[in-house]
Amino acid sequence: MLYSLAIKNILASKSRTLTIFLLSMFTTAFFIVYVAYTDGSHEQMIKSSVEIYTGYAHINTKGYQEESDYDHLIEDAKQVETFLKQKPFVSNFSPRFETYVLLSQKEKTVGSMLSGIIPSRESSLSRLKSALIKGSYLEDNDTRAIYLGSDLAKRLSVDVGDEIAMIGSSLDYSTAADLFVVKGIFRTGLFDFDLSSAFVNKDYLDSIMMSENKASYFVLDFDDNQAADSYTKILSKSLPSSYEALSWQALLSALVQLMQVDSLFGYISISVFFIVIFFVIMIFSYVNIYSRVRQIGLLRALGLTSKDIRILLFNELLIITLVSVSLGAVIGAAATYYLEVYPITISGLADTYKEYGIVSDTIPTHFDAFTIAWNTFSIFILNLSSIFYPIYKINKLSVTEAMRYV
């Protein structure tokens, strides 16, 4: 009986029903899309950082992350290669040797991170090859060829075919120097990376730096990169004690934390909006209930208890909220899924986005059923809780007070 009475009341109070219905539906849909956008942009930022160069996991000696110097090199790279070949879940891997050098052309000298890579293997582990904008990518038999970041090339005022001097320190700390010809120029969109990175064939760099069979670290790809964290834990257990395997979450911990802080601030900002919605629904419920005080008094006089009145009023909002939030969830989820498949492209914003490490100028959403369900549930509970105060107030009135209420 209380349910049918609740439905009757919902239909009778059209303006309240419509307002709460629209507010709840809009809030739910908006919240779902907002969170999906935030997660989507964070995911894209991390994906860009991981896939451009960092990679999904590294194997390095313990202490290398803190002090990336020659005292923390992998001294037997072949041993690590053999170890990795035996792991079926490691789909690709390659050693890198990174060193800090001076690159000089005429009067200009710039400090740069010079990396020795195996070009053929690297092309499937990073986006270095696809980031080529001029000249050509490195090859495994290259000798004096260097592949430069676009902003570094600009700083040195060099172009493809120009010669630059490299001065660094070899493993015995003697001076290592050579002349290289710019073979290609790349642009990833990661400003710092494009400004300070240069690559040469590892075999040749090893001959200059005396770093044969040495590596700063190995970069890895797994058959399922989403499981990088668990795979690195498995690797760490079977690696010699002086080595460690780190997933991208550990390698880019600062970026991951930045994303978490950004999400937190996003939630705080949007919660202000929800509090406003909460009070609007509460005020509408309050006004609506008080306009029906005499009706409620009559129901009490006819034998309904205050508990029945509580249930009646709660049921009214429960029905409206359930329908509106469900509809909002469907709309929000559909929009999220659509925008994940067909992301919005904001042309002209590419450069601005690149400053934040987002290589693409599209903003995809991240469709995740669990997040959508959780967000829908949050809005549902928030809306329902707005009825408690009006119920509390109305139940404080006695039957006669309610009957005489004007």
């Binding site: 202490g63 803190e66 002090e67 020659y70 005292d71 800090y100 001076l102 000089s104 009067e107 000298t109 710039v110 400090g111 001097a165 001065i167 320190s169 070899s170 493993l171 015995d172 700390y173 003697s174 001076t175 120097a177 050579d178 002349l179």
Partner: protein
């Protein structure tokens, strides 16, 4: 009474400041001289072993110096020129002269525990730091050097023990801007060269736990303070000209 005590304290502090400045200035004047030629070896010990670098240096005052590497064979002929706070390097293997950019000033010099900044700014104690006398006996004074507010320096504090009779430092402790000890430099085997005294052995030890095996020892083999040095050593042309 308390005003009198305050006055005495301020007066005493200024005296200590002035005396500390005088000691530091005397040390720098003694070590530098107007001209200095030295032949030395530098023993660099690190996690990857030990290596010895032989070199010659020519300097004029505190603004000009020229260094030539004599050995090992791989580094032979590399030259460095310092003019004021700028530094150039010539590498014979590629026949190129490069200017060390400011961003590289904190990088290691020739694989040692010295930085490029040490090579350029070795004489700025009196210009860039406020000196304060912490203690003094008849032979040794301990002086605290704190950077002046407008000084572009690397260290947060330097504590210097000075041998007053020879006007040479015996120990320098370097602190970072968090006031953590970063490295210790010790000086020994003081010898007289004309009107100057010089510790013939200097050893630098970084205190970073990751670099506990590291040390750099500079041993002076030949020193001449009193012969004027040809101005040709202090030009960019000298880098290539005196490389061989």
């Amino acid at each position: 009474m308390k005003y009198l005590l305050s006055f005495i304290f301020i007066f005493a502090s200024s005296l200590y400041g002035s005396e500390a400045d005088d000691i530091i200035k005397a040390v720098e004047d003694n070590l530098r001289g107007d001209f200095m030629y030295a032949k030395m070896s530098m023993v660099v010990t690190g996690g990857r072993g030990k290596r010895t670098v032989g070199m010659e240096s020519w300097s004029q005052g505190d603004t000009k110096s020229f260094i030539k590497i004599l050995y090992p064979k791989k580094d032979k002929g590399i030259t460095f020129l310092k003019l004021d706070t700028q530094m150039w390097q010539y590498i014979p293997k590629i026949e190129r002269t490069i200017k060390i950019p400011p961003s590289m000033m904190l990088q290691s010099w020739m694989g040692s525990d010295f930085t490029n900044d040490d090579m350029v700014k070795e004489s700025s104690m009196i210009k860039d730091y406020n000196a304060r006398l912490l203690s003094r006996s008849s032979t040794i004074a301990t002086i605290e050097l704190l950077p002046k507010s407008n000084a572009a320096v690397v260290w947060g504090k330097i504590l210097v023990d000075v041998d007053l009779s020879n006007k040479v430092p015996t120990k320098e402790i370097y602190y970072d801007d968090q006031m953590q000890k970063v490295r210790i430099m010790t000086f020994s085997n003081v010898q007289r060269h004309g009107s100057h005294s010089l510790p013939m052995v200097m050893e630098l030890k970084p205190l970073d736990i990751e670099k506990k095996k590291n040390s750099t020892k500079v041993i002076f083999e030949k020193v001449n303070y009193d012969t004027p040095i040809d101005a040709s050593y202090f030009s960019k042309n000298a880098l290539k000209r005196y490389s061989n």
